[in-house]
Symmetry: C2
Subunit: 480 residues, 2 copies
């Protein structure tokens, strides 16, 4: 098992940056417990079973829907069965957006060559007029081309805008942000110039015929009146070919998407109370909601399984950690980190942000963890490096100290909470992301178990640490 | 280019079987022309362009629909542009079956855990009652289990039958026939025992969320009154998990499929007239129709491109072959080889079956050709072996002499026409087969060019041959 992930030759370099520092001593007992926990995690299929249960017994769970409420009930029952402490739901309000129809939306080229397209409304989009609409397409090869196209103010009036940016696949998934600008913001430019709707090439890396949904941005709270859809990559290819042939393309569509008013969502919280410093919190998270088109196995059923199993393996080890481990299964991540903001704001209000010693989320699928990045005070780097050394046999390299903790950790990180992240191989994550293909069969049990091993060891070592990981004010020079 | 497909080490064994025979001499000039044609094919992107044009400018083209008629018009125009002779449409009648709705059909689990399913009607299926139906599922792990389940006559009454056979992926695609029994025949068993409908795990090898459609069988011309659908593999997994949990599953569905009466279809025919034996026909084929869910790039736009380009490359070489090369782009293959039967019957009527010296079809995608099989008289094997030797540098092994010529060649083969087949690598063919994913982007131009090279060389050598490839009656012993 360990052999599969052994890339020991790669891991020796990160330590060099801190070579001048005395290696941090995690303590022999502590290290032995961590290694035993890691082995137990490799032998466990708990994470896989949790994810199977969530995707099978709940399935799709769009934020704010009865399905997401069912996911919370499922989570409470599961966490109580696993003997977590202080299991509770923290509710929050949410503006509901839904597709208003089945996962199939009617979109077709009508000219020059009629053909149905696979397309899907983006989160937050408006609907077509009742009965649908038909209009000519104005083709932009990139979001930048759309941005630069405002010389002719009337060019988009009464038209459909199509934006064709492609996304680059990578281990880190870093092509996502750049390619995603069109998903987030193209609607504003289009609507302001009188366009009837927006279509984008799906933000994703597959050649699959499924379109990738995902949330748009709403600057200053503004929401679109026009429909906005992603089309599958092969269908975007078709539009591109017709454009390159010099053809004028017309598209018809009928969609029902829209905002439905205020509903309740919630975060589900559970703990293992710390033995010596119960008020010091190591927060680990994942999100419970998913898009409506699939069962959200990779996004983020896997994360729910991984962090829950890691905490449970520690709880059942017979070794209670010094600090409290808090598992938060966030609601409403996909629709704009609504649960994460609610959680952070509630901690601001109850004055416990500062109790959060360090945070981390699993929300990037279920492929193997390959890198440990951090965002902690300089003084704490030797300890993170030492934790990394414990994980080396799982195949992890040590990343830099400018990382985040994951999407739902962003609000806490803004409030000063230090972060670590176990980065997963994202090479094929955007093949499945936000499509109907995000289903349980895409998870490889052995890769998932490696995740849980890394998480279990890291969380144990952080929860058993005595270190304040926040950046420290410069020390006054010792007086002479 | 040739290097890519060079597996010279593999190809030397097939010849051993005929080692006792004198090697057949194709003639030096003839061989040189063949090699030059092969090189020209490797340098050409004509097949790729033809397939791009068909999939872009026509798109989906279900047998008997206006889209298939548009494909025939497209084919006539394309073949005339490429300067083929005797370009014509041979019409035939067809009973039309359609989905009656967009490519998305409404199917969902209602109990125990509600969830939409990706499913699609099988060709020939009936519709649900207006407004849909909901019923309990009776789960069969295999078609054989369904066959063996008739002890309880009433067990299927008012239920939905689900059959869960999996398909094995292979280079030869030979898992298809076995897995396909449930698609073809399960409806008869279900309907006879009072079931309200049939669902099958898609006949395919992918873990994609798309369902694979395909035609059912109609013993003695009987047609189903009940709906019959394939569900995607991940959705079949979901049904399987629920079954294994001991749950009773209910499904609701609403479909509109049905038979619509008699319409016209047709085969498109074009020729390169032979210089010395114009009445001797080397027939090469592909099919023009596709399923309605995709643009049929692999099935069989690629075949249309490959055989047309091969013939065109010969026509433009300046070397006219002895025999006539006839390209037939068949209609209505997917719905039961209707065009192929019409073609063969018409040849029976006009008395020209015997003029068909040898036949072959390209209808298995666009991956590389790896094997040459044949079905010719024993006396002609040294010549086929010699032709194979000319193709060895493309990476082909020599298969046995019990092959067919491809689906649309079956009726001619029954009538005694000898066959050869350039077998393509089918390892991933059933990932895409009969799903919305069968689109142009799945074709690799270099692999397609290798196909065309093999076809061009083989067709040239067959069309320039003087051999009758039919099995010969035993010669009377020379009198002493």
């Amino acid at each position: 098992m360990l052999r599969t992930f052994a890339v020991a030759a790669l891991v020796s370099m990160a330590g060099l940056a801190h070579a001048q520092t005395e290696p941090f001593d995690l303590g022999q007992d502590n290290r032995e417990i961590a290694q035993a926990l890691g082995q137990a995690a490799l032998d466990s299929d708990l994470a896989y079973e949790i994810t199977e249960s969530l995707t099978t017994e709940v399935g799709p769970r769009l934020a704010g829907t009865p399905q997401e409420a069912r996911a919370r009930d499922w989570a409470v029952e599961m966490l109580e069965e696993l003997a977590f402490e202080n299991v509770r739901i923290e509710p929050f309000e949410l503006d509901l957006w839904t597709r208003g129809h089945s996962v199939y939306e009617e979109v077709a080229i009508t000219a020059p060559y009629p053909q149905e397209l696979y397309a899907i409304s983006l989160g937050g989009a408006g609907a077509t007029p009742e009965g649908g609409l038909e209009a000519e397409v104005v083709f932009f090869d990139s979001y930048d081309a759309l941005l630069a196209s405002d010389a002719d103010e009337d060019a988009l009036e009464g038209k459909l805008v199509f934006v064709n940016d492609r996304m680059v696949a990578s281990r880190t998934g870093e092509g996502y942000g750049w390619a995603n600008r069109k998903r987030r913001d193209a609607w504003v430019l289009a609507e302001d110039r009188g366009a009837l709707g927006v279509l984008i090439r799906s933000v994703g890396t597959s050649t699959n015929r499924f379109a990738h949904t995902g949330m748009m941005s709403f600057p200053d709270g503004r929401r679109p009146d026009i429909p906005a859809l992603a089309v599958s990559a092969p269908d975007a290819d078709q539009l591109e070919r017709l454009h390159e042939m010099g053809e004028t393309v017309s598209i018809t569509m009928r969609t029902y998407a829209g905002w439905r008013g205020e509903v309740m969502s919630g975060n589900v919280i559970a703990e293992i109370t710390g033995s010596e410093a119960p008020d010091e919190i190591v927060i680990i998270g994942a999100h419970l909601d998913s898009w409506d088109t699939a069962t959200g196995a990779l996004d983020d059923g896997a994360g729910v399984g991984i962090v829950t199993a890691a905490a449970r393996l520690i709880a059942e080890s017979g070794h209670r950690p010094r600090r409290t481990i808090r598992v938060v299964l966030f609601g409403a991540e996909e629709v704009g980190l609504v649960g994460a903001r609610a959680y952070a704001n509630a901690r601001m209000e109850d004055g416990t942000v500062g109790d959060h010693i360090i945070g981390s989320e699993s929300d990037f699928g279920a492929r193997e963890v390959w890198r440990l990045r951090s965002n902690v005070g300089e003084h704490a780097l030797p300890e993170i490096d030492a934790i990394h050394r414990e994980l080396q046999s799982l195949g992890l390299v040590r990343g830099d100290n400018s990382g985040g903790g994951g999407p739902d950790m962003i609000p806490l990180q803004y409030m000063g909470v230090p972060m670590v992240r176990l980065e997963q191989n994202g090479e094929d994550y955007f093949e499945f992301h936000h499509t109907p293909n995000d289903t349980f069969d895409k998870i490889v049990p052995e890769e998932m178990a490696q995740n849980v091993a890394a998480w279990t060891m890291m969380v144990w070592l952080l929860a058993n640490s005595e270190t304040d990981f926040r950046p420290q004010a410069p020390q006054a020079e010792a007086s002479e």
